[in-house]
Amino acid sequence: MLQAHSFLWHYLWIVPNILLIVLAAILWLRGYGRRFPVFIAFALVEAVGQLSVYAADVAPSVSAENFWRVDWASILTEGLLKFILIGEIFAQIFNPYASIAKVAKYLIRGVGVVLVLASAVAAAFVPKDNPNGLISGAHILEQTTYFIECGLLLFVFLLLYYFRLSASRPTFGIALGLAISSCVHLATWAVIDNAGLSNATRVEIGFLNMAVYHLCVIMWFYFLLVPEKVAEKPGGSLPPNNLELWNRELERLLHP
């Protein structure tokens, strides 16, 4: 069952991507185009990219070399869009709060630079698993993009946790799906690239990747299309506080 070109393999490669196109269309029709333009673009490009790689894999007329070229193009495009999407998530969460928006932006830029450098170091240590540079390069590129993506998303969640902020349901859902997908893919690509596995095991790990991706697409449906249950909140005014006074005192300490 867990073999390339089995029914499950075809299902896991095609259905999540078709679902993603459907989700993008529904979001567009519901007027989410202004709120999540990058996510809608990402959903379409990701789906089309994956379906193109699938078509290149099953079409007998496509040579192995051309298949890997299509794969490269797909990884690069998706990787770029994912980073822009993380930027959109970040802006949705932190931009409304002027007091931390700027510092958060500086922090994530710094983290981004560190992650790029660290991923380059990690890539340098990956043993070449194929004599064809096109194939081994694609594998390393997968590990590198998921490394940066996973690190950036983890940082977004850490900031959310630290500041006790809660993102809106759709934004949180998009970030959660992307984070789960990137963490699992980072782990699997790290194993594929560095552990010298047999082809059969690599295919089995590919199933895990596809299954997780499918799960994430379903999560996006849930978070973006199912409305949140709004709990009854007691009315009334906000509690009195002396935050401004405390901020003044702390500012005195910080900015002599």
Partner: protein, 174 residues
């Protein structure tokens, strides 16, 4: 292989943290309460004159010990203020979705102030820990007062220029 193990471990820990956050998102309770804090006592702890007095009265060893204790008290205050801010962020965020514009605006202001406090408190705590490690390394509140006195002088000058009959006393508000 070592690289694979490191990356897999990093990915698993990240995933566990993110999933924990996702699960706890729906379970957040507001059982926490705001801890009342005495700003006057806090000011006393950061007052450089107090430090100077203690330095002149105590032996260096004793002074270091007392100063460490004062720093511990200071960090307890800042941590409590930071916890209060976290609680207020949750309350403020729940007010953001209010249909009343005034409440939503007040909620946004509250969240912004509380976020700023958490950010400031983190940096202050870091400085306090450094001071605890090196109690003799100087008084970080001293330049604050210097600057405040300069600001106070400027405010008084500005007040005199605007209204020569009633000079401004900025220091009275502190």
């Amino acid at each position: 292989m070592t690289l694979a193990i490191v990356l897999v471990l990093a990915a698993v820990i990240s995933l566990a943290f993110i999933l924990r956050m996702a699960v706890s998102r729906g379970l957040e309770s507001s059982s926490q309460q705001i801890v009342p804090l005495d700003v006057a006592a806090f000011r006393n702890l950061i007052d450089p004159a107090e430090d100077e007095y203690l330095r002149s009265q105590l032996a260096p060893n004793e002074f270091r010990h007392v100063r460490r204790e004062r720093m511990q008290a200071l960090s307890a205050y800042v941590q409590a203020a930071r916890r209060n801010a976290a609680f207020l962020i949750q309350i403020g965020q729940s007010a953001l979705s209010s249909s009343e514009t005034q409440t939503a605006e007040a909620g946004k202001r509250l969240v912004n102030d509380a976020l700023l406090l958490r950010r400031n408190a983190t940096v202050v705590l870091f400085r306090i820990y450094v001071q605890q490690a090196w109690p003799d390394s100087g008084r970080f509140a001293m330049p604050v007062l210097d600057r405040y006195e300069r600001m106070s002088g400027s405010a008084m000058l500005l007040g005199r220029l605007q209204n020569p009959a009633s000079p401004v006393r900025a220091s009275a508000h502190w």
